[in-house]
C-alpha cells in the first residue's frame, strides 16, 4: 500500500522535501511504521516536542485518533505541520 506524506512550513526547509510517497507491505499500517520509513522526519519530530506538531491523517488530528498508533491505509494522506497560528 502507498501513503502520501506532506510537509509544511519550516519542516520543508529543515528536511529539504515537500512530499513523499511511502510504500509498505500489507493493507494497513500504523503512522509509526510509516515514520520508520522516513528517518529524517522521525528524528525531526521526536527530537522536538512531538505535542507541538500538528499531524493529520486525512485531515483528522492524530491526537483525536490513536497518535502514533493511528492506522493508515492505501491512499491515506499524512500532513505534518510544525506549530502555526494566526488570525
Amino acid at each position: 500500500m502507498k501513503v502520501k506524506v506532506v510537509l509544511f512550513s519550516f519542516l520543508r526547509e529543515k528536511l529539504g522535501w515537500k512530499e513523499k510517497i511511502v510504500e509498505v507491505e500489507g493493507e494497513k499500517a500504523t503512522l509509526e511504521a510509516i515514520l520508520d520509513k522516513l528517518p529524517d522526519l522521525k528524528e525531526a519530530i521526536l527530537s522536538s516536542d512531538i505535542d507541538s506538531f500538528l499531524i493529520l491523517v486525512d485531515g483528522v488530528n492524530v491526537r483525536l485518533l490513536k497518535l502514533l498508533k493511528t492506522e493508515v491505509k492505501d491512499g491515506t494522506e499524512i500532513a505534518i505541520f510544525p506549530p502555526g497560528g494566526g488570525g
Partner: protein, 628 residues
C-alpha cells in the same frame, strides 16, 4: 490620581463647533472597563442613543488605546476604534496594529471621542497634549498613501525633520463614499478593517488624524512591570507559534493548515477544500513575493514577533507592492473567489490598503457576487462585460476599485454581502451574521468556532473568541473540533478573556504564548490595581454583556440573531475531512445562554446587576426589552 499606564486625558472633538476639549478619565470607570474596547463600549452606551443611524451626525466614533499601549509590554503596539457600525447596526470595535496607537499615547491622550459632523472636510492634528482641526479640502478624494504623505509634507514646513515621526490614521475614497465596510487605515498599510468605521469618519467629514508626541506612559509599579515584561517575552520566545511560525510565514501559514483540515471556505462556503491552496500559501509567499528585509519595518510598534508581511509583485498585470497580504485577505480574494493566483490576490490587497477597504468583507462580498452570477441572479447588462466567474483574476481587482468608488455594480457591493444578495433575490447566499461577512474558517468542521460566529456581538467574526486555537491548532490544548461538548463554556471563557485583551489593548497573538495569569500580572503592575483572574474575567463578562445590551436596544438583538446562514446549518459539507457535517448550533445555543445567564439571547436583570450594570437593566426594562 491618574492610574498607571494612562495619560488620564480624553480628547473630545466636536465637529459642529470645530472645537476640541480635554477631559479627565475617572479612575472608577477605568477600573471597571480598562480602556480600548471596554472603555469605548461604556462611553457609547452612555453617550449615544443605540438606535441612531450609524452614518448620521448623532453617532460617535471613539479611537482608543489602553493602559498597556506604548509601555513596552510586548505586543502592545495596537489601538482600536469603537462606534455603531453601518454594516451591522451593532456596537462595534475594530482593531489595528502598526505604530499609530502608541503615538497617540505619546501625544498625550488615551482616547479621542469624535462627535457631530464638520461643515467641510477636516483633519485633526494631535501633538504634545494639544489638538487642532485643520482644513482637509485638498485631501478629500486622495487615497490613503497620498493623504499620509501630504499631511507629513504639510507638517514638515512647521516642525521640520520630526514630521517623519508623525503617524497618520485616515480614510481613503471608500470611507468618503460611505462604503459600509470602509476601513480606517493607519501607517499606510494597517487597517482597523471590519465594520465600516471608515464610513463613519467619512460621514463626519473627518479625513485623517495625525499624532505625534514624546510623553511616555508610566506603569504604576515599575519593578513588577519589568518582571511581567520579562516573563511575557520569555513565553513569547518559547512558543513556536510566536517565535517561529508567525515571524517566518506570517498569518499566511494558516492557508495550508486550514485547507488540510477541510475548512478553507471555497466559492462562498460551497465547500471547505480548495485545490489551489498551496499556490496561495504562506510557504509560496515566502518563496516568491515576500520582501523579507521590509518585514521588520512593517511590524507593529515594539513587537518581538513581527508577523506583518511586505510583498512586491513584478508579474504583469498585477505589479505593485505594499503591506500584506494576511491569511484572511488571501482567503477572501483567493478560495472565496475560486482564485489561486497569489499575485492577483496581492494586487487586490494593495488596492484595499490604498483605497481604505476591509479586505475580508471586500473579498467575501466578491465571492457572494460570483455565486449570484453563477446562479443566474445578476442581469447581464450589469456586468458591463466583466468576466465575473470563479477564478477570474481581473474580477477581484476591478470589483475592488469599483466598490471604493461605488462605480457600476460596485455600488451594490459597497452595501455589503447581505444587502447585495437581498437586492438580487437570493438572501440565502449571504454568508453573514448580523450583517457582517464570515471570515476564513468554515464552521461546519469546527463546532465551537461556529457557535462563536453565531453569538458574536459585532457580527461574523473569528476573533471575538478564536476557538480555532483549541479546536484546530491545539493551543492551549486540543479539543475535538467535531464535538459540541463543552464548547459553550469554552466559548464564553474565550469571549470574556479576549474582551479584556481588546481593552488593554494587546495583540491576540500574545495568547498563543501568555495566559490569563500573565494578563492579570500585567494589568496589576501597569495600573497599580490588584486584580485576580476572577476580577479580569468579570471585566470581560461585563464588556460582553454591555455590548449585547447595546445591540438589544439598537435592534432587538437576541436568539433570532444568534444564528448562522442556512447553508452552514443544513447543507452538509460535501467533501474532505469535515464531510457530512453541519454546525450543530441547536446542541449548543441553549447551554451557551445558560452559561451566560441570559434568556433567549438577552442578559437578565440578575446578570446585569451582578456586573454592576443596573443602569443598563433599567434602560432595557424601560423599553420592554428585558427578559422575564
Amino acid at each position: 490620581m491618574v492610574l498607571g499606564g494612562y495619560t488620564g486625558k480624553i480628547l473630545r472633538v466636536n465637529l459642529y463647533e470645530e472645537k476640541v476639549y480635554v477631559e479627565a478619565l475617572p479612575d472608577e470607570v477605568l477600573k471597571k472597563w480598562i480602556g480600548g474596547r471596554g472603555l469605548g463600549v461604556y462611553l457609547l452606551l452612555k453617550e449615544i442613543n443605540p438606535k441612531v443611524n450609524p452614518l448620521s451626525p448623532e453617532n460617535k466614533i471613539i479611537l482608543l488605546t489602553g493602559p498597556v499601549t506604548g509601555t513596552g509590554y510586548p505586543m502592545s503596539g495596537r489601538w482600536c476604534s469603537v462606534t455603531k457600525s453601518p454594516l451591522t447596526n451593532t456596537v462595534h470595535d475594530s482593531h489595528s496594529g502598526g505604530k499609530w496607537g502608541p503615538e497617540l499615547k505619546f501625544a498625550g491622550f488615551d482616547a479621542i471621542i469624535v462627535e457631530g459632523v464638520a461643515e467641510k472636510p477636516v483633519w485633526l492634528w494631535v501633538h504634545d497634549g494639544k489638538a487642532e482641526l485643520r482644513c482637509a479640502s485638498h485631501l478629500w478624494g486622495k487615497d490613503v498613501h497620498s493623504t499620509t504623505d501630504m499631511i507629513i509634507d504639510e507638517l514638515k514646513a512647521e516642525i521640520g525633520d520630526d514630521a517623519k515621526n508623525v503617524k497618520v490614521a485616515c480614510i481613503g475614497p471608500a470611507g468618503e463614499n460611505l462604503v459600509r465596510f470602509a476601513a480606517i487605515m493607519n501607517d499606510k498599510n494597517r487597517a482597523a478593517g471590519r465594520g465600516g468605521h471608515g464610513a463613519v469618519l467619512g460621514s463626519k467629514k473627518l479625513k485623517a488624524i495625525a499624532v505625534r508626541g514624546t510623553i511616555k506612559p508610566k506603569p504604576a509599579d515599575e519593578g513588577a512591570f519589568r518582571e511581567a515584561v520579562m516573563k511575557a517575552m520569555d513565553k513569547i520566545k518559547k512558543s513556536p507559534v510566536t517565535s517561529q511560525a508567525l515571524p517566518a510565514y506570517g498569518t499566511a501559514v494558516l492557508v495550508n493548515i486550514i485547507n488540510k483540515h477541510g475548512i478553507f471556505p471555497t466559492r462562498n462556503f460551497q465547500t471547505g477544500v480548495f485545490p489551489g491552496a498551496e499556490k496561495i500559501s504562506g510557504e509560496r509567499m515566502a518563496e516568491t513575493i515576500l520582501i523579507k528585509e521590509k518585514v521588520k519595518e512593517e511590524a507593529c510598534w515594539g513587537c518581538p514577533v513581527a508577523c506583518a508581511r511586505y510583498t512586491k509583485v513584478t508579474t504583469p498585470p498585477w505589479t505593485g507592492e505594499g503591506g500584506g497580504p494576511e491569511y484572511e485577505t488571501i482567503w477572501a480574494f483567493g478560495s472565496q473567489c475560486g482564485v489561486d493566483n497569489l499575485e492577483a490576490i496581492a494586487k487586490a490587497n494593495f488596492l484595499c490598503n490604498e483605497l481604505g477597504l476591509d479586505t475580508i468583507s471586500m473579498g467575501h462580498a466578491i465571492g457572494t457576487f460570483l455565486e449570484l452570477v453563477e446562479k443566474g441572479k445578476i442581469p447581464k447588462g450589469v456586468l458591463r462585460g466583466l468576466r465575473a466567474e470563479w477564478g477570474s483574476l481581473e474580477a477581484i481587482v476591478e470589483l475592488t476599485w469599483r466598490t471604493a468608488y461605488r462605480s457600476g455594480i460596485g455600488n451594490d457591493l459597497a452595501e455589503g454581502a447581505k444587502k447585495l444578495a437581498e437586492k438580487y433575490g437570493a438572501p440565502e447566499l449571504a454568508m453573514v451574521v448580523r450583517g457582517q461577512e464570515l471570515p476564513a474558517y468554515d464552521p461546519r468542521g469546527v463546532q465551537g468556532h461556529g457557535l462563536g460566529y453565531a453569538t458574536s456581538n459585532r457580527g461574523g467574526c473569528h476573533l471575538r473568541a478564536y476557538l480555532i486555537a483549541p479546536e484546530v491548532l491545539g493551543v492551549p490544548q486540543l479539543v475535538d473540533r467535531f464535538s459540541t461538548k463543552g464548547k459553550p463554556k469554552l466559548l464564553k471563557d474565550f469571549q470574556d478573556l479576549f474582551a479584556v485583551v481588546d481593552s488593554m489593548v494587546i495583540c491576540k497573538f500574545s495568547t498563543f504564548a501568555i495566559a490569563a495569569e500573565d494578563i492579570v500580572e500585567a494589568l496589576t503592575a501597569v495600573m497599580g490595581v490588584k486584580f485576580t483572574v476572577d476580577d479580569v474575567m468579570k471585566i470581560g463578562e461585563r464588556i460582553w454583556n454591555a455590548e449585547r445590551a447595546f445591540n438589544v436596544l439598537s435592534f432587538g438583538d437576541g436568539r433570532a440573531y444568534d444564528t448562522l446562514p442556512k447553508r452552514l446549518l443544513e447543507e452538509p459539507m460535501p467533501e474532505g475531512p469535515a464531510k457530512g457535517y453541519v454546525v450543530k448550533l441547536g446542541e449548543m445555543l441553549d447551554e451557551y445562554y445558560s452559561v451566560r445567564g441570559w434568556k433567549d439571547g438577552r442578559p437578565t436583570r440578575a446578570k446585569l446587576e451582578e456586573l454592576g450594570l443596573k443602569w443598563v437593566a433599567d434602560r432595557l426594562e424601560e423599553e420592554g426589552l428585558l427578559p422575564e
